[in-house]
Structures are given as C-alpha cells and as structure tokens.
C-alpha cells in the first residue's frame, strides 16, 4: 500500500482509534459472507482498479467518473469518527476521505434533487456472498440531500494512512458517522440524484426494523436490540458498556437537520 497524505480535521474525535487489525477483520459486508470475519477472508479477489463511479439523475454533468479523476479534485483529510453498528457494537475508525458534497457539487446538483441514492458493486465471480439471496442486490443506500451535503458526510478511500482495505469497502465508500453503520455503503459504483426517497436495502428487507434515516438513537429501540448502550470492540472482556449517544455524539453538528421531525416516526 502507498502511504496516503491526509490533513487532520477538526471533526475528528480524540477517542482512541481501534487497531487496524480490529477494523479490517471485524465488519459486515454481506457481499463477502455473513460472518464478521468473512469480508477479510473473502474480499481479496475484488478488483478495485480500474474503478469508476457512475453519477447520474438530476445532475448537470452526468457520466462515468474514473476514481483517479474524482481524487484529483479533492483534499484528503483524516476523519477519526465513532462508528456505531445497529447490532450494538462500536469502534473508532481513522478514515481518510473527502466531503461528499465536493463531488456532488462537481457533478452539479439540479434544484429538483432531494435525495441521493447509492449502489454497491455486484460482481458474483468476486463476491461469493451475492450468490445467496440474503439481500436484494445490489446493496442500495440513500441520504436526504441536506444529509449528503453535510460536512461530516464523507467518501472514504483509506484508513490508517493507507488505501482502503478491500473488506472495508475499497476503493471508495460512504461514511455517515451519526447513522448506524449499514448506512455507510461500501464499494460504490453508482450515485444518483433523485427527487423521491430511494429504496434502501435493509429497509426493503425489513421495514419494521430498519428505517430510511437510521440515525443512531438510544431512545428508539430496534425491535430485536436495545440501542441504549453499546460494546466498544477491542476494549477487553470486562470493559464497561458505553451509553449510546443521540446521533452517535454528533448531535451538535447534525441535530438541526431533523428539527421538527419526530425521530421515533422517522427512525
């Protein structure tokens, strides 16, 4: 891996990041299997170069954007963010990336665009997990336009000063730190600006359990898991659970996005 230069960011937490080992060996990426060790095990075959992202829908300059080209126009920053999984565990990850909004502005967002839809690569010969119909592939996610334009929302291309490990969503993935981890879609091949709220994979699979917004919220229970507290991965057998914070602790920056919304309805 080539070392990536990245500027420090005021948005970084000063909490201690998880080790590279932990981050790259424990995650969900169902395209490579259901076990949290499976992505590390099976993602090796993924071809990430060449890579391009198809940007379309309500944009001024639709088209296929090669990754090199995307990276030319941006300043990479290190963003050390908390990551909270809907399953009740959490980590701290030193991502390297750039604000999504810079790419969207480059493509030119038309006034009618109200949501952004994302899709993950589907390549069965390199992704053994997509042969089973666990989810309706491709994996799809979405954000409201104000969420997408928020400075905390980044497209990440690396972590720990190196290129993104394949199992973590190489070569380019979304990171939205105030939402449950599954919103941060990996290995993105398509970004569409759209007028209507797009379908998202987990919501389609089980609408009662996974809402479109999926903001981290200890007061809104997942039907199968309490979201009141979380276990920080890597902190040892007897480390105390952590109280989960509203918006994963990013409320100061993002709470105003949801002013007037009932978060137990728009969960």
């Amino acid at each position: 891996f080539a070392r990536i230069e990245a500027k420090a960011s005021r948005f970084s937490t000063d909490e201690k990041p998880n080790s590279f080992e932990e981050i790259s060996n424990y995650n969900n990426f169902y395209e490579f299997g259901l076990d949290k060790g499976d992505p590390a095990q099976n993602a090796g075959a993924l071809t990430v170069d060449p890579w391009s992202v198809e940007i379309g829908g309500l944009v001024e300059r639709p088209g296929s954007y090669p990754l090199d080209d995307i990276l030319k126009g941006v300043t990479l920053e290190e963003r050390i963010y908390r990551l909270r999984c809907v399953e009740g565990w959490s980590m701290v990850v030193p991502w390297i990336g750039f604000e999504l909004r810079t790419l969207l502005e480059r493509a030119g967002v038309q006034p009618g665009a109200r949501f952004v839809a994302f899709e993950t690569l589907v390549r069965p010969e390199e992704m053994p997990g997509v042969r089973s119909r666990i989810l309706d592939w491709p994996y799809r996610e979405g954000l409201r336009i104000d969420e997408a334009m928020h400075p905390l929302t980044i497209l990440a291309t690396g972590l720990y000063g190196e290129e993104m490990p394949k199992q973590n969503g190489a070569p380019i993935r979304l990171v939205v730190p105030w939402k449950y981890g599954f919103k941060s879609i990996k290995s993105i091949v398509r970004i569409s600006l759209v007028e209507k709220m797009p379908a998202t994979s987990w919501n389609v699979q089980n609408a009662r359990e996974y809402g479109f917004y999926s903001n981290v919220n200890p007061a809104v229970d997942h039907p199968r898991w309490s979201q009141a507290s979380e276990r920080r991965i890597g902190s040892g057998f007897f480390a105390p659970r952590i109280e989960t914070q509203l918006f994963n602790g990013y409320g100061d920056q993002v709470a105003q996005l949801y002013a007037g919304q009932d978060l137990s309805v728009d969960f």
């Binding site: 080992e21 424990y26 666990i134 989810l135 039907p223 199968r224 276990r231």
Partner: protein
C-alpha cells in the same frame, strides 16, 4: 449385525466419559479465549459458541430415540449426560449474556426479556429446562414414577423448538445455520409424531 457390535462395544463405556467428552469443547473455548483465538470480539464469540453447543446437545439428545428405532443402536444410557450437558451450556450461555455482554444492567436485561421475542423464547427454554435438569437422577424417577417422569421430560421437545427459534429470530436476514438447526429439530420431532400416529392407527 453392525448395531449389535456397536452396542456391545459401548457396553463397557462409563457415562462419565460422555461428561468428560462433553466438556472438551468448553476446554477448547477457554483455551481460545485465553490465547486470543476468538478474534476481534471474544465476548460475542464465547456467547454464540456456548449457545450453539447447548443447541447441539439438545439436538443430540433428540437423535437418540430415532436412532434406536431405525438402526437398533442403543445410546439411551448416555441420554441423561447429553441432556445435562445441554443444560450446563445453556447456563453458561445465559451467564455470559448477563455478566459479560449486558454486564448486569438490569433495566436493559429486563426490557430485553420482555420486549425481544428471541430473548423471551430463550428465557422460556431455559426455565423449562430447570425441572428437567432437577429430575435427571434415579431418585426423581423413583419418586415420580416412570410414567409421570416420561411425561415431564417430553418438555424437551418444546425446549428444542424454543432453542432453535431463539437462534432463528436473533439473526439478521436468513442465514443457513439457524435454518438447519430448526429443520433438524422439526425433522426429529416429526419422526416421533409419525411413529406415534402410526402406532395408534
């Protein structure tokens, strides 16, 4: 006959050996936990493995009767050990959930038991196993009488179903492993039902 040869070979085997063998997976688990062999999230690893072992012993206990009916291989003598091992692993599974996972946060534990169907079912299965474990000795059979004892121990069927359902409901989406356990339990219980109905006819 192969079955008779197997039965003959098993006759000198003490049941203590089954208990000892049944504790080997626990030994392995402790060793893995001590040497960092359980990966990035050892608490979840231990919790799931213990639950899985409990389910495996439950299913194992259900195999013993059909095995005798269809093949003549007789493992009835070892069934108590298999059942008590299942209970033992259920207790450890529950203890790890309470102590290491939820860390005695009773408000969350209470809410989980009341609100999450898979935890409610798991607790029901645990509760139903207590009378079974307590009566898994010769004195209890004598006191209760064989008929009443047998009737009580039919509760095992419900426990196995609850256990498999507990696993099936806790996972996201529909992975294969819990479906296989459920299919196994349903198949083993269907064999019993089929045999009972056929005998009545």
């Amino acid at each position: 006959m192969i079955a008779q040869r197997i039965n003959g070979a098993l006759r000198p085997v003490p049941t203590g050996l089954v208990y000892a063998a049944g504790l080997l997976p626990l030994g392995l688990l402790v060793w893995q936990a001590a040497t960092g062999g359980l990966g990035v999230d050892p608490v979840k690893g231990i919790e799931h493995r213990l639950g899985e072992l409990a389910l495996q012993f439950l299913v194992g206990g259900l195999v013993i009767s059909p095995l005798r009916w269809w093949t003549g291989i007789n493992l009835i003598r070892f069934r108590r050990a298999v059942g008590l091992l299942a209970f033992f692993y259920v207790c450890l599974h529950l203890a790890v959930w309470l102590a290491l996972d939820l860390q005695f946060r009773w408000a969350e534990i209470g809410a989980d038991i009341a609100k999450r169907p898979y935890i409610t079912l798991g607790m029901l299965a645990f509760a139903a196993m207590i009378p079974l474990a307590l009566t898994s000795n010769n004195g209890a059979i004598r006191r209760m009488g064989a008929a009443a004892w047998t009737r009580l121990h039919k509760l095992t069927y419900a426990v196995a179903l609850l256990g498999a359902l507990h696993f099936l409901l806790l996972v996201k989406a529909w992975p294969l492993e819990p479906i296989l356990y459920m299919a196994g339990v349903v198949a083993l219980l269907s064999m019993r039902l089929w045999r009972t109905l056929r005998r009545r006819a």
